[in-house]
Structures are given as C-alpha cells and as structure tokens.
Symmetry: D3
Subunit: 69 residues, 6 copies
Amino acid sequence: MTLSARNRLAGTVQSLDKQGLMAEVVVETDGGQEITAVITSNSAERLGLAEGEEVNAVIKATEVMIDGE
Amino acid sequence: MTLSARNRLAGTVQSLDKQGLMAEVVVETDGGQEITAVITSNSAERLGLAEGEEVNAVIKATEVMIDGE
Amino acid sequence: MTLSARNRLAGTVQSLDKQGLMAEVVVETDGGQEITAVITSNSAERLGLAEGEEVNAVIKATEVMIDGE
Amino acid sequence: MTLSARNRLAGTVQSLDKQGLMAEVVVETDGGQEITAVITSNSAERLGLAEGEEVNAVIKATEVMIDGE
Amino acid sequence: MTLSARNRLAGTVQSLDKQGLMAEVVVETDGGQEITAVITSNSAERLGLAEGEEVNAVIKATEVMIDGE
Amino acid sequence: MTLSARNRLAGTVQSLDKQGLMAEVVVETDGGQEITAVITSNSAERLGLAEGEEVNAVIKATEVMIDGE
C-alpha cells in the first residue's frame, strides 16, 4: 500500500450500476459489512469492474465521521 | 438511520488520539476490519468518545474510491 | 446530535430533483439562506425526501472553505 | 461568483483558533446559524482572517448530506 | 485569490460532458497535465463553461492524497 | 493505475511539515505547478515521505471545483 489514504477495506463487488456519468458500486467487505461507492462511469470502465470481482474500498481518514449513538 | 450518508460500519473505538484541534479515532469494525477517522477534538469531546465505546463509522458514498488491484 | 460532523443547518426542502443515480436537494435554511446537496437517489428515497419537509443539512467541518472576499 | 461550488453562506468570523497546521474558524451566518470550517493555518494567514471580518463559508454540493430526522 | 482552498491549477477546458445532474469537465493544465472535475450541470451552466475556455481547477488541501509508488 | 480516483499528478516532494497528527506536503508537479496535500503524520511516516522524493498527488474527481474567473 503506497497511497496515503488510510482506510482499505477488502471485499467483493456485489453490484454495479452505471447510469450516465456516475456509477454506484456496492462492495461486500470480507468482514460482512456493505460499502457503497459513487465513482465515475469512466473509472468503473477503466478498472473493468464487474460483480464478483475482488476489490478494496479506499477512504481518506478525513472523510470518515463518527456516530456515537 | 435518518442521514443520507450511505455507509455506516458498526464497531468499537480501539484508540483515540487528540492533539491540538484534531483527533484520530481508530475503530475496529464488527467485521474485524479497521477504520481510521480524523475529526475535530471538539467533536470527540462533544461525543464523549473513549476506548471501548460502540460507535458507527459513517462515510458519504461519493467519498469512497475503489481499488481494483 | 450524536454525529461528529459539526455543521447542522435546519431548514425546509425547497426542491428535489432526482435524475438517474443522483439527486439534487435544495434546502432553505431557517436563516433564509439556500443550501444545495447532491446525494444518491437511493438515499433520497430511503429518507422519503419531499418538498416542504423539515430536514437538516449536515456538513463535516473539514469540507468547509472560507472566502475572504 | 465564478466558482463551481454551489453553496456560499455570508457571515462574520466569530472565532479563529490556529493550532499547528490547522485552524478552526467559526462563522456566524447572516441567517443566525453557525458554521465551523477547518482550514490550514497557512490559508488563515494568507486570507488575513480575524474575528469580526465578513466572509463567506463555501461548500461543494457533493459534500452536503441531508438528515431527515 | 481570496478562497482558503490552497490548490489552483490554471488551464484550459478540453472537454465538457453534461449528462443529467452532473457534468464532467476535463482541464488541461498549463503544465500539460490533465485534471478531471465532476461538478453539477447547473454550475457548469452558471459558469458558462465551454471547450477552450481558461479556468482554474481548485482543490482543498485536505482532499489531496499522496501516492509514494 | 488501479484506483478509481481519476487525477494523478506526478511530481516531487518540495517540503514536508509534520506537526502533531497532521502533515502538510507540498508537491511540485512535473508541469511546474504546486499542489499542497494535508494527510496524517502517520501516513507520511508509513510512506517514508521526504523532500526530493518522486510521488503522485491523487485527487477524486468529485473533489475538484472549477473557477471560471
């Protein structure tokens, strides 16, 4: 891992929905939790994303909030 | 869940490091994966965050990237 | 308020425009200022957003810029 | 306004707290609501920010969430 | 420059693709590098963006990651 | 490039300033433009960042704004 973004959650693409410029990617993490990413359709194509593929969801630490409830 | 942000990962605060204005919060998710959040120290105090507490890490879908490697 | 995100502006949904994956929500704050949010259409549906509804616009402090002009 | 970021809330700097690299700026908007920004101390100095100064809080629409509660 | 966002890369709009709510803007920077922005179509129209126009790509420092590879 | 984030600007670390939890990294891009990133000090250490090192500044397209001025 050479990227400064701290968070990498390994998982599998559960669904991919491209509509116009944007694509919604749902990843089931290896821990059994679900993460949804909204990326550009161009990026989804460049990466060749498809259901069942193993990927990492990557998130910069400053983008994560905490809910104490 | 009444917030539009799609991603909520339940877990437990593993460590909390407040230094100046910012605080780094490491959450071990219930799925056994680790998430780091950088929030303001003021927010950490307002929420009364402490090690061992159950929280949710919350992330807007547009902030999540996918790494296909 | 149990979420670390510092900014919550109470207001009323003035318009909601869902197109494909994304939805644009314009909120008139109680202070008479306008805030536009872009969220996923899925979240807009999950929250049951509609014109006239009372909501809060929520923003993490690290996402706010200052213009001194 | 020549910037693509949709949201501009006019207001007055209520407090400015610089600690190390980061600065926390609290703005009271003209509508009487409070917004907190975390920016770099370098930017706070470049802009010459000070209490009582009139500024705009600027936020990209994709960074705004909606809480339906 | 009166905005706290630190990064401004001068360049020229190379392409503009509006689809539904969102628009993808590719800017060729004066340094010969390419930057892609996703903004709202409303903002693209408000700014009157068009190919060949001189613009700045603006990015808050907390949104930039470093890849050491 | 296996990451969905569209923007990668190759360059050289010009300065690195770690203070507390956060680090400010100034990169001079190969195109001669300057980019500042704010990352965690932990990430700066993990990557072994130092002046003169060749890196990429990486930015998600949804984080880029356009200034038409």
